[in-house]
Symmetry: C2
Amino acid sequence: MTIDCTQCPLRQLDVFSPFTGGEEAFMKAFKAGELQIETGAQAVLQGARSPHLYTVLSGVGIRYATLEDGRRQILNFVFPGDLVGLQGALMDAMSHSVEAKTAMTLCVFPRERLWELFKTSSSRAYDVTWLAAREERLLSDNLVSLGRLSGLERVAHVLQLLHTRYVETGLAEGDSVALHFTQAEIADSIGLTPVHTNRLMKKLREEGLISTRDGALTVLAPEALAALAKIDPARKRERPLI
Amino acid sequence: MTIDCTQCPLRQLDVFSPFTGGEEAFMKAFKAGELQIETGAQAVLQGARSPHLYTVLSGVGIRYATLEDGRRQILNFVFPGDLVGLQGALMDAMSHSVEAKTAMTLCVFPRERLWELFKTSSSRAYDVTWLAAREERLLSDNLVSLGRLSGLERVAHVLQLLHTRYVETGLAEGDSVALHFTQAEIADSIGLTPVHTNRLMKKLREEGLISTRDGALTVLAPEALAALAKIDPARKRERPLI
DNA sequence: CGAGTACTTGAGTCCGTTCAATCCCAGTGG
DNA sequence: CCACTGGGATTGAACGGACTCAAGTACTCG
């Protein structure tokens, strides 16, 4: 029993641009099914040529690359509405893996239909490109963080980012969010060790910027945190949903 | 006097996929002209909503973001065949600037024609998306470098990357390439200070991996450098050219 | 020949790492 | 009911890679 695109619950959220009419029905024709995966399972694997392109319907995960010697870098966090596997669908092989950190549901689009989608609907094709450009921007932000921010600033940056993404995808309960990522994962996303990340989070707590109680993150001083994180508050958040 | 797309000199290069027929003539209709800029000039500016989308016809540059306090992070190096200004054409404003490090020639596509291109040619639209996905992959590689490689590995990584890009765009003279980037710029791309970058380059020289003489970089031990840089030699290089 | 820019090198400091040990808590099986 | 287990979070102490500040060299350009 899969969800009908015309009933897609994500469409309700403010971050996603509304469809102008009949477009959900169009997308429905491209959806081949749903993939349900458990916490810890891989949606796509580095090196593999994924046979599908996915849109995240629910759940969160991480997008990461590993080196031969085991070092891991988390490139980005995966939230509802994100495209997964575009590289594999377009180019040769995936340069990263995606792992679920909660149970996830993914809408499945077979790769051969992607080309069909480009031929049939130029506006949907435009949206795919738009999302690719958005991904590029998110990676750029992380690059600036890793390259030019201090450790404390980087921690503020991810926490701010995660908070925003939880809120905009409707996964926040009140003003605090239940993080599904461990400190080790946060550390792997900002290029620090878990130990040092822990110390820096402690510092943010002591300075009253955040609080963390039983896995929930609360931002106590949003302006101060954003200032530390060097995040532009004016950036538009709205985006298309495929 | 602008170059006719049907005569595009880049098309000759091995890295670029051949057009199947009549496609150059199609692209010609979208080209509104050429932009010539001098060394040090900005092609696009961070924060601006660029009125154009460009393809680099000749010359090299840097794509970078700056923070309020002046810190700068180079996101990527810009070479012939690269798309410039896609974010500005699709979304709201550019999150980065592009500056010429040699004289550059850019093919100009007005942003309103981008949408027209999507409507008219699904294969060209597909190529634009392909290039966006490629950019995403290059950024991921840099992210892994900044987050998980040591200083020495990072220096090896950029140098290897630059060498490859010079060679594949036909800008190499023999086995050595004339770098158009200063050590300070290389430092800004790998998240290190110029001073430390200098010391690490010295080390690579002492170990016999590279040599640098009057601005030219020669890779003396390609395998050793690639091993240090953690670069996958098997990756396909061919890509579309818009 | 002076000025500017890039590159090079030295010495001291600090941020982040490494290697541990400890704590906390949710399961789980006796 | 409680000891046992294991993963995550936390803290301590010592080390080291990268930074800072500073001086000096090499080269181009007016």
